[in-house]
């Protein structure tokens, strides 16, 4: 017989590569899994059915048979006019949700005319938002009560939300009709993404402020998307991503309860954001473990009674950090595998990256291919026919258990440090993530991990790829537009609002209603953040490496 007769030589080759059987979290994977690996698993207690506690198999009974995941692509680009066109184009091609990223100045709480922003206005595939005028143009012609908008904003979330609500009101749409999400996850900014300005506790106050506002006025809106994606982008391995994200989630729950809100009032609107990287089954186990841990903690520890409070609802993005600049077409295949794992993991929403993103923001062609990847998985692969098709797999269930156990180990460590905020102040997360990033890079350089086209199967003389042109005059135009906008405002009212914001910052009142009025008076994002900066001060940390 030809099969079954694998040569000894082939086995030896695989064995000699020590990383070959370790996943990204560093767990050693056994040659085969069987009943003995899941002897402790109680199906009813640990899995339940789909849509049943503890939701390991998915948060809905019918999953994608009932409703497909949201195909959510990034619809942002330098100017709000261009970004608006891109959003409309994505929706016309069949996207069912969009995400909007901000340019680096907006992310850092600065207006386009700030001298620190030179060369970055409209950068990184993000849109430059200074004032209500930009959001008006960005949302032009988009059905705000139909399309869900995911705002990829964090330290500046409160201001972006104020712009959004104010623009919707101008169009006669009240806040309670708006669907969408604010990323608004400040903890992971200190841990990984590094776009913060205020000290952690002042930032936490703003996050809780927006959660409170949304609970009262925006029942269809997710005030936060607790994000592992950025932890992983900065280098966290999947087990760190899982444990740190959930630990952050618990921190938001505790802080919001402390602010006097009942857990069942806000917990159903908490949402999450995960990365899917290269290890296929590890991705899937991560989501299953997350659902189980979250459900148990919400029910048993935080005493939530509403079953919607127990649900780990998650948006997923394929791994930007897995994309290679070398042989960029290979990224199409990577992204497809990652996207498939997200679907098999039961995600609620998915973003697929474009293959040219290691070089620049996506071209029109690559962006379309990324969207079509999801549509092919949805309509052609057959994986949506049945709910949780991999449930019960010896390997997957065993890996899920292992990730759950390791998460609890991390929770203990974090508790010993005094909680997440203390852990940030002590540099715990930053060090863990930086160490993993360095380890990953060394594994690639030592070929303990093979990345096709990067450290193996390389080719000389790569063909140039088609790239999206950016407009070099945009920055100057944007600054001129902002000057014109500012000159038309009632300056006295602007100054009075700035003083009011400082006043609230000094006390402990609510910000959101004031911000909404302030942006209607023409205050810019930089001015509002600036007024708070005057009171809260700016946070700096030593780099850890």
């Amino acid at each position: 017989m030809a099969f079954g007769k694998r040569s000894k030589r082939q086995d030896l080759d695989l064995q000699s590569s020590p990383m070959a059987f370790k996943n990204l979290s560093g767990f050693v994977i056994d040659p085969v899994y069987g009943t003995e690996n899941i002897a402790q698993l109680d199906v009813e207690r640990d899995l339940g059915g789909p849509g049943e506690f503890p939701f390991t198999r998915g948060i809905h009974k019918t999953m994608y048979r009932g409703r497909l995941w949201t195909i959510r692509q990034l619809g942002s680009l330098g100017s709000s006019g261009e970004a608006n066109m891109r959003i409309r184009n994505l929706l016309a091609m069949g996207a069912t949700g969009v995400s909007i990223c901000l340019d680096m100045p907006t992310i850092m709480g600065r207006d386009s005319d700030d001298p620190l922003c030179e060369g970055e206005v409209g950068s990184s595939g993000g849109v430059a938002i200074d004032s209500i005028a930009d959001v008006r143009q960005l949302m032009d012609g988009i059905d705000l009560d139909q399309v869900s908008i995911n705002w990829v904003c964090n330290a500046q979330s409160c201001v972006i939300l104020a712009f959004f609500v104010a623009v919707a009101e101008e169009r006669g749409i009240s806040a309670d009709k708006l669907a969408g999400t604010l990323q608004n996850d400040i903890l992971k900014e200190y841990q990984a993404q590094k776009s913060y300005y205020f000290p952690p506790r002042s930032s936490m106050r703003l996050t809780v402020d927006t959660i409170k506002y949304c609970c009262r006025h925006m029942p269809r809106f997710n005030p936060i998307s607790i994000s592992g994606y950025h932890l992983a982008s900065a280098g966290a391995n999947p087990i760190q991503e899982l444990a740190f994200t959930l630990a952050n989630g618990f921190t938001y729950v505790e802080e919001t309860i402390k602010a006097g809100v009942d857990v069942d009032q806000f917990a159903p609107r908490l949402s999450f954001f995960f990365k899917v990287h290269n290890d296929f089954f590890e991705n899937i186990a991560k989501f299953r473990a997350a659902r189980r841990i979250w459900a148990r903690a919400m029910k048993e520890k935080y005493r939530a009674k509403d079953d919607r409070s127990w649900l780990f609802r998650v948006h997923t993005q394929t791994a930007g950090s897995s994309l290679t600049a070398q042989q960029p077409e290979n990224n199409i295949i990577r992204t497809t595998l990652q996207a498939l794992s997200a679907v098999l993991a039961g995600t609620q929403s998915l973003h697929t990256n474009a293959f040219d993103e290691a070089h620049s923001i996506p071209s029109a062609r690559s962006e379309k291919l990324a969207l079509r990847t999801q549509q092919i998985i949805a309509h052609e692969s057959g994986v949506i026919h049945t709910v949780d098709p991999l449930g019960g797999s010896y390997y997957l269930e065993s890996l899920t258990n292992k990730m759950e156990e390791e998460s609890y180990r991390y929770f203990e460590k974090i508790e010993q440090l005094g909680g997440v905020l203390k852990g940030i102040e002590k540099g715990f997360f930053q060090r863990e993530i930086a160490d993993s990033a360095y380890q990953y890079q060394k594994d690639i350089e030592n070929k303990r991990r093979i990345i096709v086209g990067l450290n193996e199967y390389r080719e000389d003389g790569e063909e140039p790829i088609e790239m999206r042109e950016t407009d070099p005059t945009f920055e100057t135009r944007k600054i001129a537009e902002l000057k014109a906008f500012k000159s038309q405002r009632n300056q006295q009212r602007v100054s009075a609002r700035i003083e009011q914001i400082r006043e609230v910052a000094r006390g402990d009142g609510d910000f959101m209603p004031l911000f909404i009025e302030a942006v209607k008076d023409g205050l810019t994002l930089g001015e509002i953040i600036g007024a708070m900066r005057d009171v809260f001060g700016e946070y700096r940390e030593e780099a850890i490496f």
């Binding site: 001298p115 620190l116 060369g119 590094k194 290691a358 070089h359 350089e445 140039p464």
Partner: protein, 135 residues
């Protein structure tokens, strides 16, 4: 472990240009340079003026810049220009990050000594910097 073939005591200033928050690359490089026996002064986000002032104050051998947000074409040459104005053009400037291939010849023309795009290995970077530092 990597072989430590570098001269001891090369002082490298690492900075992220402008507001760019992307930090993974620069931190991994900082770690690798330190492990290779160099002295790393990591100053996070700074504008060219502050970068050049710190480089002179700290008497560094090399400046390493990181940019993934697209400001490299304006701010990286600005660093070289300011070094020349101060008469300290002997300090070489190296850039890492998302640099489109078309920009590379322009940056080299503007006086950037080395450019390391996505997929560059730490080994190449260490070798390049240690060679520059020996001059």
């Amino acid at each position: 472990m990597e072989k430590r073939i570098v001269k001891k005591g090369i002082r490298v200033l690492l900075a992220r240009l402008g507001l760019d928050a992307h930090w993974r690359g620069s931190i991994v490089v900082a770690h690798a340079l330190r492990d290779a026996g160099m002295e790393v002064i990591y100053i996070g986000n700074q504008m060219p003026k502050e970068i050049v002032e710190t480089a002179i104050q700290e008497d560094v051998d090399i400046i390493g810049l990181s940019s993934l947000s697209g400001n490299h074409m304006i701010l990286a040459p600005e660093v070289v220009k300011r070094l020349r104005e101060k008469g300290t053009q002997e300090i070489p400037v190296v850039l890492g990050g998302t640099v489109p291939p078309d920009d590379i010849p322009i940056l080299k023309e503007a006086g950037i000594s080395g450019i390391f795009g996505p997929g560059s290995s730490l080994k190449e970077i260490i070798q390049f910097i240690s060679a520059l530092g020996k001059k």
